[in-house]
């Protein structure tokens, strides 16, 4: 007879997988526990067995060479059905649940089984057992059962420690990622601000200095009050000069090296960016669906800059979806060829844009309380530098789709 699936099997499997313990290497602490369990209970076999989707995998095994057994035959799969109590089978031959089990009818001829369910600390999910097994029918006395329970507690603590260590490592990693994102963000923000402001200032300055020079020439020609006004025009031109030098210095300060372009596969760029953002996705409880073209899509690009665009668009999407229910959050990333273009689309299920699609890419047009609205204008500038186009279509309540088109390389 097979064990019934537990009511919340997916949650149980998630809890188990989160430990990241399946198929890990043997560890002395767990080996010691099973050896001690076998000795205290006087059985030839003791296991720490974790019940995976279709197998029971042994973190530690004493007296048994196998690494795992199919879940359908595993006694532990039954034990975790009643997580509050130990499962004790005095004689499997006389138990309708196990009499026809191949592990009973054949090797290793199990007769006796006692398993204490192991629970995860945080969400109380039964993930496996500490069990002792014998090929002879028998019982455990109270002291042995108590000892086995104590050892099971220690096993749980060890597993829990593993969970905590992992959590810490992942938090640390996440912090580093965030630092890196912030750093990239600040750098490009500074660059974008300087580029935008210097362009905006440069235009009128150009006009002012050309008009001043015009006045200067006109004065010279007419000789009209030349002496008095030429000094003033001279000062005007000097001030223009000054402003021009400041702008030039400012520009030099942000462009150390022009970005290098090379032929690269856009799918590689997208995949590595998604890897980079894995923590952000988990943090925002968003699953990314990818639908990339099966063949490489070559573009002539600076991959770091394109990555920055994708990161920006993803973070936008995360923010857009932060207000909606987790179950409704979806993010779709696709790439495909379209004649001589490569098209990348990022669709979210957020509320759509609150500004018109046209002004979305204008600097300083943020709709976010804590943003400068510079992210999308950076994206736009980068894509323009790649001779491409970025556009968005959104409908209120139906999400937004950002579309990037780049010329195919070659």
């Amino acid at each position: 007879m097979k064990a019934q699936l537990l009511s919340d099997e997916p949650a149980r499997l998630r809890a188990l997988r989160r430990l990241d313990v399946l198929d890990s290497l043997p560890e002395v602490a767990y080996d010691d526990i099973v050896r001690l369990a076998a000795e205290l209970c006087g059985t030839p076999i003791a296991l720490i067995s974790l019940v995976d989707e279709d197998r029971a995998w042994f973190k530690a095994a004493y007296g048994l060479d196998a690494k795992e057994t199919p879940r359908a035959f595993a006694f532990c799969a039954h034990a975790i059905e009643t997580p509050a109590d130990p499962l004790v089978v005095a004689n499997a031959e006389h138990d309708t649940r196990f009499a026809d089990n191949p592990l009973v009818t054949g090797e290793p001829n199990i007769r006796f089984y006692a398993g204490i369910p192991l629970m995860t600390k945080s969400d109380q999910q039964p993930i496996g057992t500490l069990c002792v097994i014998s090929n002879e029918a028998r019982e455990l006395d109270d002291g042995q059962l108590q000892a086995l329970t104590v050892l099971a507690n220690y096993s749980e603590k060890l597993l829990q420690l593993r969970d905590a260590t992992r959590e810490l490592l992942s938090q640390q990693c996440e912090l580093q990622q965030q630092d890196e994102l912030m750093r990239l963000g600040r750098l490009s923000l500074a660059g974008e601000l300087i580029a935008e402001v210097s362009h905006e200032i440069s235009q009128p300055l150009c006009a002012i200095s050309a008009l001043s020079a015009t006045l200067d020439v006109m004065n010279e020609h007419r000789g009209w009050e030349y002496g008095r006004t030429s000094a003033l025009v001279g000062r005007l031109l000097g001030a223009c000069d000054n402003a021009r030098q400041i702008l030039n210095r400012l520009r030099k300060s942000i462009h150390f090296t022009p970005p290098e372009f090379e032929t690269c596969d856009i799918n590689n760029i997208l995949e590595s960016t998604v890897d980079f953002l894995e923590f952000k996705c988990r943090q925002n409880e968003v699953d990314i669906k990818m639908n990339l073209a099966p063949l490489p899509l070559q573009v002539h690009a600076n991959s770091a800059q394109l990555q920055q665009v994708v990161v920006n668009l993803f973070i936008n999407a995360f923010e857009a979806m932060s207000e909606i229910a987790v179950a409704d959050r979806s993010l779709m990333l696709s790439s495909r060829p379209d004649e001589d273009l490569v098209v990348v689309e990022i669709s979210d299920s957020g509320p759509g844009l609150t500004v018109s699609d046209e002004v979305a890419f204008t600097a300083f047009e943020s709709t976010k309380a804590n943003g400068l609205g510079i992210g999308l204008s950076i994206c736009s500038r980068i894509i323009e530098d790649h001779s491409g186009r970025i556009s968005v279509s959104s409908r209120t309540g139906k999400g937004a789709t950002f579309r990037v088109e780049l010329p195919k390389a070659g």
Binding site: C206, S209, T214, V217, L237, L247
Partner: protein, 123 residues
């Protein structure tokens, strides 16, 4: 007398450049985009073009390349705002005669235009 074609989408810049060129004794025609300029029937009246790099639609470099394809060889000075835009080698390869960074020193601008017109050079 041949004239200077100024192509810049910024009204302020276009007007001020026109005035500066005119008081410096040059004849000028202005256009707000590359496309508008390409609509000209006769290019032979232009001795020199002063083109902003950043234009809506075709940019300054695109315009130079388009003209070359049509066998129209007019010496061209490009004004560019940003150092990343002014990849000089690319400009030279496309046939641009000179590149000036915006905001341009007006005396230098007039001198450059006059030099280009005097030599009528196009390599």
């Amino acid at each position: 007398m041949q004239c200077v074609g100024i192509i810049d989408d910024d009204d302020r810049v276009r007007l001020s450049f026109r005035l500066l060129m005119e008081v410096s004794g040059l004849e000028v025609e202005t256009f707000a985009s590359a496309e508008e300029f390409l609509g000209c029937q006769n290019f032979s009246r232009f001795a020199c073009l002063l083109v902003d790099f950043r234009l809506p639609g075709l940019n300054g470099l695109d315009l130079v390349r388009t003209l070359r394809k049509q066998q129209v060889l007019i010496p061209t000075v490009i004004t560019s705002g940003f150092s990343s835009e002014s990849d000089d080698a690319e400009f030279v390869a496309a046939g641009v005669t000179a590149v000036l960074t915006k905001p341009v020193d007006p005396k230098r601008l007039v001198k450059t235009i006059k030099d280009v017109m005097a030599f009528g050079s196009d390599t």
